[in-house]
């Protein structure tokens, strides 16, 4: 036992060295992307920096590697963090709190834990079984899909850390408020009755007690990163391609009239438009970024994005297994209203 403990500590060292070297390479490359892009478009291809083609191409060859690097690095970090958290632990922590603090904690955890829509039903049942109030369960179920790690990184890369943090904070606040409202509405009777009848077997969970080593955590994070980036890289490139085109060719202020701050109706319109769209954030954000440059307002754009990721048809079809249609309708209405309010707030503040 002592020997094996010693062995794992010893075995972790190469993993730390590899991760450290990769981190240094990452920083060096990341900080030299603009000169490389300039050299490529203006010197090598001899394009004029003021021409639409030159501008669009420079934008493209700078943003694609930048975002792919940022995605790989940040997703690695986030998934590494996630190896320390699992939903069973979250449930145990939230279980003991009442309304209010419980909503905040559920929403916070919802922001960090990875979300998969096919897990939302077992999660819902598990929370309800543990006696966690419906409102707190919803706080988790609302923030979890809104806070998408890819969306967070894309915002960080294209808009800067202020906007990324604003997104994080508003996702958490929307979950808390919508959860509190839904909790007050006493909606238990709209939950399918079978949820309350299931009894969990007491089963052994042998392996989870074993603490993973750092090498294993790094390995898991690397696997998840490969998977996430593998899924979205093409959307990133296509999105940035469209964004680059808008950047270079669409006239400034073309969108001020329909997506600008003065058009008050644009926020609800963007949310309504976003609900049926089931797209991943990776493709949407570069386009939004380009639209912003042409006079669209940030709140409108963010509201659109949150509606796209948080309220999707497949998600509702899955939730239908445990919720009656009435509750789904209320759920959508409350979340949509919160997102609209956030959009207005952003347009006012920023």
């Amino acid at each position: 036992m002592h020997l094996s403990r010693f062995m794992t500590v010893h075995e972790d060292r190469p993993a730390f060295v590899i991760v450290g070297i990769l981190a240094v390479v990452w920083v060096v490359v990341y900080n030299n992307l603009q000169p490389i892009a300039d050299w490529l478009t203006y010197s090598l291809l001899g394009l004029n920096p003021d021409s639409p083609i030159g501008e669009a191409l420079n934008f493209f060859v700078y943003d694609v590697p930048k975002l792919l690097l940022l995605l790989s690095g940040m997703i690695f970090f986030i998934t590494l963090l996630q190896t320390f958290i699992d939903t069973e632990k979250v449930r145990a922590l939230v279980e003991r709190r009442g309304e209010g603090i419980g909503n905040v904690m559920a929403s916070l955890f919802g922001a960090i834990t990875p979300f998969c829509s096919c897990s939302s039903v077992p999660l819902f049942i598990g929370f309800v079984q543990a006696g966690i109030p419906l409102g707190i369960t919803f706080s988790f179920l609302i923030t979890s899909p809104i806070m998408n790690e890819v969306a967070f990184v894309m915002l960080l890369g294209l808009f800067g850390w202020e906007v990324a943090l604003l997104y994080l904070a508003s996702g958490i606040i929307i979950g808390v408020i919508a959860g509190l409202v839904l909790g007050r509405l006493k909606l238990e009777r709209y939950v399918e009755p079978f949820v309350y009848q299931i009894r969990a077997k007491r089963v052994q969970t042998g392996v989870e007690a074993d603490k993973p080593t750092w090498a294993e955590r790094f390995g898991q994070a690397a696997d998840s990163t490969r998977e996430v980036v593998g899924k979205v890289w093409l959307f990133v490139i296509i999105g940035i391609g469209i964004g680059a085109f808008i950047h270079g060719f669409v006239p400034e202020d073309a969108l001020t009239g329909i997506m600008g701050e003065d058009a008050w109706w644009s926020v609800p319109a963007a949310v309504l438009l976003g609900i049926p769209l089931y797209s991943n954030a990776a493709g949407v954000i570069p386009i939004i970024n380009a639209l912003l440059g042409k006079g669209a307002a940030l709140g409108t754009a963010l509201a659109f994005m949150m509606a796209v990721v948080a309220l999707s048809l497949p998600e509702m079809i899955i939730l239908r297994k445990v919720l009656k249609p009435r509750l789904i309708a209320i759920f959508v209405a409350v979340v949509a209203a919160s997102i609209i309010a956030t959009g207005f707030l952003f347009n006012l503040v920023v």
């Binding site: 039903v121 049942i125 598990g126 077997k201 969970t205």
Partner: protein, 83 residues
Amino acid sequence: MLQVKVLGSGCANCKRLETETRGALDAEGIAYTLEKVTDYADIVAYGILSTPGLVMNEQVKSAGRIPKRQQIVEWATQLKAGK
């Protein structure tokens, strides 16, 4: 005979877990039966909160992730040795 259950409603990860498990156990020549549990009531009865879940001889081995093949084989051999 090892009794394996894959818990999940049929999403992409659940299918991958099944493929990985079959691949790992087949490669080691371990005899097993595999059952897919897709009903939510049955899934949650195992006390897991995230899918896919892997159950061997009625013990929950993993939830919410796809374990490495090597790990799957390790669990299987441990269970066989325990018998």
